[in-house]
């Protein structure tokens, strides 16, 4: 009685095998397809505006084309084939009758319930044997029975009886499922017999070698060269290499734009004679005299020289078009206009690579230049131009009406802080804005997410002092206050605290989201949880209001620390795109002014002392929304900190334990008894003051409405 291996001759097993295999492949692919075809930007909030410029259609068409590019034909085909195969296999499984192998069940044979007692079994057996004993029963010709059948039936009945009464037979039955002991069994391989039958062997070998000799190496190779082709930032490796070569320590935004034009992507965009067509026209337009800057493209003399020194070719055309885009220059040619709007997203993608490169050098100047270039590219504004150009309908003429001859640009915040009548009188008029346009512009300005930093400080979770080489958290507290918001509530001082989760609150320590306990029911002692409306989903800022940028872009905020004396980046940027509290109410217009917390962890310096950093909070999508402030990190000697901590804690343990007992008596789960909370907050604040992390600058910025933007 050995095991027997057999191929699936009846063809009832292999559909299961194929079904499972296809399902394993198809389901993830389907998921991928659904995820891709669902536009992620559609679910995001947008800045509500009806502003349209002359080329909105071109920009929209480019946006759509980009989205379509994401959908891959092969994926759709693969998914359709997969589901078709699954369907067919299901049909096969349904229709093919599997050879039934009934389990040998003595109860069924004796036709008694499984709960039958021994007595019942015996009496049933006796009855049955009286009826079916071969000596008694006669074969029924109408049922086509023979003597053998009768014999077999009787043997079955007596076997069943024995299985239920005889010890040995019963053991056999329990162990092997059969009263006769171990049975020979066969294993079926879920592959159709066809593949091993004569004559088909060579096809199978052919398929096998095609699969493993051709397809597998091809897939592995294409994957490998695919990873080599593109850098981590998603640009072509060759472009990244060129950008690295273009990096200079004193590069400015104009230089970054020029560096970006070296991208190989542009060579693919302007193949052949496309690289020269219309170049002279574009150049003459951008070198024309501009309204706000000497050159219409907004480029400096140095940038002009740089452009003119280039050999004509894809790079020169890309650079000229980039400047035309940044200067919002009308090119009067549909092809050129389309190219103008197409170069900006490419340059923006390349800029990500440039940011990574400048970050590797750790110099502040190039990193900031790269971020500013990103802002300029998204908003289609020349470097160092007025932030007011971000508002719809704001033409250079309008900007000039606001700024006059002043050389310091008016930020949107400053403009919107002026009384309505005053700013209206400045910008509404002949050749400037109409009343309607003004309302629209103000409406957009009041939706722009300007992160006003209220406080920034350092702390080590669970510790009162920052000791050398500890893991410091930079906590930035700020609110989204759109420019020109009225009735901004005062900052609630409690919001500015960052309270460590209690030591036994594992969820919070491990970063799991829990509802915050806000109180306790007096009678039952059950903690009352804060109503958190949709706090499980991360909140994103509305898509950047960028009518000229041919991509949907979700704004990000980069927080990093620099050493102003050496001009070096001290703590590399942390990027925030998601926030813990809603920025706008459901209608998408009314700001909530909720206090947002941004946290960044880094290692403290290895030596004690006072370290003064400049903290930059740079938004990558809006110009003039950046914050720059000084923060001081105080690192204490490890021994000193330990001593101070001990001195402070002398009276604490008792209370702690008392609180613990009370807590336990109340039935336990809540980690923080209410009574202790205020005291803890006090401590927190004290330690903040002692470590001096929030200096004057922070305090003023908390109350002062216009945090000095950098520039």
């Amino acid at each position: 009685m050995g095991a027997e291996y057999a191929y699936d001759e009846e063809g009832y097993l292999w559909p299961f095998f194929v079904f499972t295999l296809t399902l394993i492949i198809t389901v993830p692919l389907t998921f991928l397809l659904v995820k891709r075809s669902r536009d992620p930007a559609a679910s995001l909030q947008r800045i509500q505006t009806s502003f349209k410029h002359a080329h909105t259609d071109t920009v929209d068409a480019l946006r759509k084309r980009d989205k379509r590019k994401d959908r891959k034909l092969w994926l759709i085909l693969a998914v359709i084939t997969g589901w078709a195969v699954i369907g067919y296999m299901l049909y096969l499984i349904q229709t093919t009758e599997a050879p039934t192998q009934k389990l040998w069940n003595p109860y069924d044979i004796l036709n008694i319930p499984e709960s039958a007692t021994e007595k019942q079994i015996k009496s049933t057996y006796k009855k049955l044997s009286l009826k079916f004993h071969p000596d008694k029963a006669k074969p029924d010709p109408s049922k086509n029975e023979t003597m053998d059948d009768l014999n077999a039936r009787y043997v079955e009945i007596s076997k069943a009886y024995q299985a239920l009464t005889d010890e040995d037979v019963r053991n056999n039955y329990i162990m092997y499922g059969n009263p006769d002991g171990k049975q020979g069994y066969s294993i079926n391989i879920a592959l159709p017999k066809v593949i091993v039958s004569d004559g088909n062997g060579k096809y199978v070998v052919l398929l096998y070698s095609a699969l493993f000799g051709v397809l597998l190496p091809y897939l592995v190779g294409s994957w490998w060269y695919g990873t080599l082709r593109r850098s981590k930032e998603g640009v072509l490796m060759e472009s990244a290499n060129r950008l690295f070569r273009e990096y200079k320590d004193n590069i400015d935004e104009g230089g970054v734009v020029a560096a970006l034009s070296t991208g190989k992507e542009f060579e693919e965009l302007f193949k052949g004679d496309k690289s020269d067509s219309g170049l002279s026209k574009v150049e003459s337009r951008i070198f024309a005299e501009g309204a706000l800057s000497p050159l219409a493209g907004g480029l400096s003399v140095k940038d002009k020289e740089r452009l003119e020194n280039l050999d004509s070719g894809p790079q020169r055309k890309a650079l000229a078009l980039l400047w035309a885009y940044l200067g919002r220059i009308e090119l009067d040619d549909p092809t050129l206009e389309k190219a103008k709007f197409a170069v900006a997203p490419i340059a923006h993608a390349l800029n990500k690579s440039f940011t990574a490169i400048s970050l590797a050098y750790m110099n502040t100047g190039p990193l900031l230049a790269s971020y500013y270039a990103s802002q300029n590219l998204i908003q289609a504004m020349p470097p160092k131009s007025s932030p007011l150009l971000q508002l719809p309908y704001f033409t250079p003429a309008v900007v000039k009406a606001v700024e006059g001859d002043s050389r310091i640009h008016t930020s949107i915040q400053a403009f919107m802080d002026r009384p309505d009548a005053k700013r209206r009188s400045l910008v509404v008029g002949k050749g400037l804005l109409t009343d309607e346009q003004y309302r629209e512009a103000v409406g957009v300005a009041k939706q722009l997410p300007f992160l006003r930093v209220a406080k920034a400080f350092f702390k080590v979770t669970g510790e009162r002092f920052i000791i050398p080489s500890s893991l410091v958290t930079l906590v930035v507290k700020g609110r989204f206050v759109p420019p020109g918001s009225e009735n901004v509530p005062e900052v609630n001082p409690a919001d500015l605290e960052d309270i460590d989760p209690a030591e036994d609150d594992l969820d919070a320590i491990l970063g799991r989201k829990t509802k915050k306990q806000i109180g306790k029911d007096e009678k039952t002692g059950k903690p009352i949880m804060e109503e958190s409306a949709g706090s499980d989903e991360p909140i994103l800022a509305p898509l950047a209001a960028a009518p000229y940028f041919a991509r949907d872009h979700s704004p990000r905020w980069n927080v990093f620390l620099t050493d102003s004396k050496q001009g070096r980046v001290a703590v590399p940027p942390f990027t925030f795109a998601q926030f813990d509290k809603p920025i706008f109410e459901q209608d998408g217009r009314t700001p909530t002014f909720a206090m947002q917390t941004l946290k960044a962890q880094f290692q403290a310096p290895p030596h004690a002392g006072h370290y003064t950093f400049v903290m930059h909070v740079v938004c990558d999508s809006y110009v003039g929304f950046d914050t720059k402030m000084e923060v001081t990190l105080i690192v204490e000697e490890a021994e000193k900190a330990a001593k101070m901590a001990v001195e402070d804690e002398i009276s604490e343990p008792e209370e702690d334990s008392l609180a613990g007992i009370m807590n336990a008596a109340k039935g336990g789960a809540p980690p923080q008894p209410k009574k202790r909370k205020p005291q803890k907050e006090e401590e927190e604040e004290e330690s903040d003051e002692e470590s001096g992390t929030d200096d004057e600058d922070d305090d003023t910025s908390a109350t002062n409405t216009d945090t000095e933007p950098e520039n």
């Binding site: 850098s231 490796m237 990244a240 290499n241 070569r245 706000l292 000497p294 690579s353 001859d405 050389r407």
Partner: protein
């Protein structure tokens, strides 16, 4: 005794041959392409102009019709070598600052492997170049090799400093111009106010002012403000 069925073994041998052949072809083709690629890598730095000048000064060919090459004064040779050292200093600084950045970017996969190869080649070339300069310097003046880079470094630093100064001084003209315009426009505004006040009164007064008002009429202001944008650059 043993009958070897050669025909039956044909298939396994054919398999081995095909397998080995594939690997061989693949590896040779791959290596050849790699070698070609690395041979075609663009050099990190452009042509070394200062070195070329120095070398051509050193090996002056005699002009046609003349027996002897023109004699190059020793001071010119020394100056050329010093210039060459200064350029080397620039390059060495660039290489030093780029090295950590390049290797960290390579690890992260932000730049490609060939960039790193080019970089390493440039580094090696720079080492040879430095050694060469030291030897040349020692050949001209014994002992100069030890200090030539020190002086070159000072020259380079001085040059960078001067460039920066020039850049700042370049702005003065534009700033001045902008301020003149701005002052004029402010003055203009004040004058207008004054004029309006005076309009009610009898026309009398200043002699030289009207000229100024006329020259800085509003038509002059646009270009003035556009200049200011330029100057606004820090």
């Amino acid at each position: 005794m043993f009958e070897i069925d050669w025909r039956g073994l044909l298939l396994p041998f054919a398999y081995l041959v095909v397998l080995g052949g594939t690997f061989m072809t693949f590896s040779t083709v791959y290596r050849k392409r790699k070698a070609l690629q690395s041979a075609n890598l663009a050099p990190w730095f452009g042509p070394h102009l200062q070195r070329n000048i120095y070398l051509s000064l050193l090996h002056m060919e005699p002009e046609e019709g003349q027996e002897k090459a023109p004699k190059v004064p020793e001071s010119v040779i020394r100056a050329a070598l010093l210039r060459r050292a200064v350029e080397d200093i620039h390059r060495i600084i660039q290489i030093r600052t780029a090295k950590t950045a390049c290797s960290s970017l390579l690890q992260r996969g932000s730049v490609g492997d060939d960039l790193w190869q080019r970089f390493q080649r440039a580094e090696k070339e720079m080492e040879d170049e430095l050694r060469d300069v030291v030897m040349e310097a020692n050949a001209i003046v014994p002992g100069w090799g030890q200090i030539i880079f020190q002086s070159a470094n000072e020259i380079a630093a001085n040059k960078a400093f001067r460039d920066r100064l020039d850049e700042i001084e370049e702005q003065t003209e534009r700033e001045k111009e902008w301020w003149e315009k701005r002052r004029a426009s402010i003055k203009n505004e004040f004058m207008k106010e004054l004029e309006e006040e005076e309009k009610s009164q009898a026309k009398a007064g200043s002699e030289d002012e009207p000229v100024l008002v006329e020259t800085s009429t509003p038509s002059a202001t646009p270009s003035g403000s556009s200049k200011k944008k330029k100057g606004g650059k820090k």
